[in-house]
């Protein structure tokens, strides 16, 4: 039985993993870099070891140092969280070699799923649908036309040697096929000296829908239904929800079976996620597998009622899964948003800095997974995510209302955050109606602009508050003088302030 787990990560996920360990009576070991001495995971853990300078290449990615701490602390297992070493087959192999349990999949599964071409071939062999397309470059018009007709329109033609949009053509109508192939080939020839092209099915309004799977070391695999992750900005997920608003029970079952088949094809054990690209007609295609815990795993935990980290630990411990597919059900609706230290009104510039004040939203149906606290300085070296806000309600509509209520009460000062931007997303009609795909953010820019929520009166209140703070500050510095005489004694103030840095 696993008795002590080293968590090779930081931030909210390290704390989240440690919470489940604590519930299981397992001791936890934190590792930390230079700038993370005061980070919550160091405070929460039973033990903590320093592993190097701030840049992750010198600390959280140093397999040797982490293994050394595992040995030193007597940890019998390592949980990698997400990011850092979580999808590193060499680390999984190192653990195997050193006799420390890696809480994650086998090196073979990581390797196979980590390489896009191998993964695609493996999925085809396992009968899991992939985005239709050619695997070899096409060198003549006739073959190209034939393949396009097989795949079905629309398709994307891409130059084999290509890049930067050169030699790329989107074909939607049959009568355009010949022209498009010819012009793509000649453009490719001119640009790259090679007229070979690839052809791939074009998904015009793609949805990103993923399935959570759990597999044990005895060959059992189950899925825990889908997560809809189509609200993305620059391929970064912003909002995730489950169930997907476009899903039907029939397609859910089919996709679930495909996800289980995909996992079984690589003898998968541990928690993993099969990402699908889905079109408006609910045709679905395997995109890739994430061989680790996802950031958005809590919405599945809430709706299915399973602690995924505990399952990971039990699986790593060699225990068989405690539930069968038919025992798993979805109850209600969950949504997650990610709170980043960034300025949504200024091109999402990261906004590291010291958290001056934080009010966390609480109450019915709200889960808040964070690691920041008042006085904590969000370091500039790592992902600027502060926390994840997860809500649950009986219905999707109620979940949206609840999330708005929670965001309303969530206050952070000292750094800029994505909170106002997230609130705006929840008001976009396409989101409210559940009709959205991965183009959501670019298509709804006009709804996502900063709001003019503050009237003249509200601006006056803002100004008055600052003014009151200012005059009270003066008053405190001049205890012998009544408030109305304030404001004349700048030299005194200056002199006192130098003493007052307390």
């Amino acid at each position: 039985m696993i008795k002590k787990v080293l968590v090779a990560n930081r931030g909210e996920i390290a704390v989240r993993v440690m919470r489940s360990c604590r519930e299981l009576g397992i001791k936890t070991v934190a590792v930390y870099s230079d700038v993370d001495r005061k980070s919550m995971h160091v405070r929460y853990a039973d033990e903590a070891y320093f592993i190097g300078p701030a840049p992750s290449s010198e600390s959280y990615l140093r397999m040797d140092k982490i293994m050394e701490v595992a040995k030193l602390s007597g940890a019998d297992a390592i949980h990698p969280g997400y990011g850092f070493l979580s999808e590193n087959a060499n680390f999984s192999r190192l653990c195997e070699k050193e006799g420390v349990i890696f809480i994650g999949p086998s090196p073979y599964a990581i390797d196979t799923m980590g390489d896009k071409i191998t993964a695609r071939k493996t999925m085809i062999a396992a009968g899991v649908p992939v985005v239709p397309g050619t695997t070899e470059p096409i060198k003549d018009l006739k073959t190209a036309v034939k393949i396009i007709m097989e795949i079905g329109l629309p398709v994307m033609i891409k130059a084999s040697a290509g890049g930067g949009g050169k030699g790329m053509r989107l074909v939607k109508r049959e009568e355009d096929i010949v022209n498009a192939v010819s012009s793509a080939r000649s453009e490719a020839k001119t640009a790259f000296g090679d007229d070979a092209v690839y052809i791939e099915k074009y998904i015009s309004s793609p949805h990103h829908i993923e399935f959570q799977v759990l597999g044990d070391k005895h060959g059992n695999v189950v899925h825990l239904f889908e997560r809809e992750c189509s609200v993305q900005r620059r391929h970064q997920k912003v909002v995730e929800e489950t169930p997907s608003p476009i899903m039907t029970q029939e397609i859910r079952m089919k996709m679930g079976e495909a996800a289980v088949a995909a996992a079984k094809a690589v003898d998968y054990y541990g928690a993993g996620t099969i990402e699908f690209i889905v079109d408006d007609n609910l045709n679905y295609y395997f995109l890739e597998m994430n061989t680790r815990l996802q950031v958005e795993h809590p919405i599945t935990e809430r709706v299915v009622g399973v602690d995924l980290v505990k399952q990971q630990i039990n699986i790593a411990d060699g225990l068989p899964l405690i539930f069968k597919q038919e025992e798993l059900h979805q109850h209600g609706h969950a949504i997650e948003v990610r709170i980043y230290a960034e300025d949504p009104d200024n091109n999402f510039m990261p906004s590291p800095g010291i958290i001056k004040h934080i009010t966390e939203p609480l109450g019915l149906g709200v889960r808040h997974d964070g690691y920041a606290y008042e006085g904590y300085e969000i370091p500039m070296y790592y992902d600027p995510m502060i926390s994840k806000l997860i809500v649950w309600a009986e219905t999707r509509q109620e979940a949206i209302s609840r999330l708005k209520r929670a965001l309303y009460a969530y206050k952070i000062t000292g750094v800029k955050t994505s909170i106002p931007y997230l609130s705006r997303i929840l008001d976009v009609p396409a989101f409210v109606e559940g009709r959205y795909n991965t183009h959501f953010i670019e298509e709804n820019q006009q709804y996502l602009l900063p709001r003019q929520g503050c009237t003249d009166r509200c601006m006056d209140v803002a100004a008055i508050t600052a003014f009151v703070d200012y005059i009270n500050k003066l008053e405190r510095l001049q205890p012998d003088k009544p408030a109305k005489h304030l404001g004349n004694n700048w030299k005194d103030l200056g002199r006192k302030r130098s003493v007052l840095r307390y």
Partner: protein
């Protein structure tokens, strides 16, 4: 006595007329407000105005007279302008704007410096690259300029608002 107060770009006059415990009578640009202003947490205020409950958070800015103010939906820069501030502002104007400084807007690390002191750079040229939180930001000049001084070196950690390159 009355002060000038700048809320983003709006300039107003503000005056405390009366104070009684947490009740304030304050005039802004001749509008008179009666409010109950209570600091509930450090930098967090609860304001009641005609029984409407406002929540306002303050963070002190560059100095004790400047604030970043959060209301429900927006963030404002607020600056209280007293005699001292007015004096400093007038002096700053006298110095003119013939020097210019590229300043890091946030804490980060200098990844690359693409110029040397004395270089003539062209409008749009990238002068320095700073990385923070997995993102690299390029700082360019907007007009043809001369690099006067470089205050940092590659690999340096910079703070928010730290001058990095002086251009002419």
């Amino acid at each position: 006595m009355s002060y000038e107060i700048k809320i983003n770009n709006r300039l107003s006059t503000i005056e405390l007329l009366r104070k009684d415990g947490s009740n304030y009578q304050i005039a802004i640009d001749n509008k008179v407000y009666e409010l109950d202003v209570a600091e509930v947490e450090n930098g967090v205020y609860s304001i009641l105005l005609d029984n409407i409950s406002f929540n306002v958070e303050l963070v002190e800015g560059r100095n004790s007279k400047s604030y970043i103010v959060n209301t429900l939906y927006e963030t404002f820069g607020v600056e209280i302008i007293d005699a001292e501030a007015k004096y400093l502002m007038s002096r700053r104007k006298d110095e003119g704007e013939d020097t210019n400084v590229i300043v890091s807007p946030m804490p980060g690390k200098v990844v690359k410096i693409l110029c040397n002191e004395g270089d003539h750079v062209k409008a749009g040229d990238t002068v320095i690259i700073v990385s923070a939180m997995k993102m690299e930001s390029e700082y360019k000049v907007k007009q043809d300029r001369i690099i006067k001084r470089i205050l940092v070196k590659e690999g340096d950690t910079v703070k928010g608002d730290q001058p990095m390159v002086v251009i002419e």
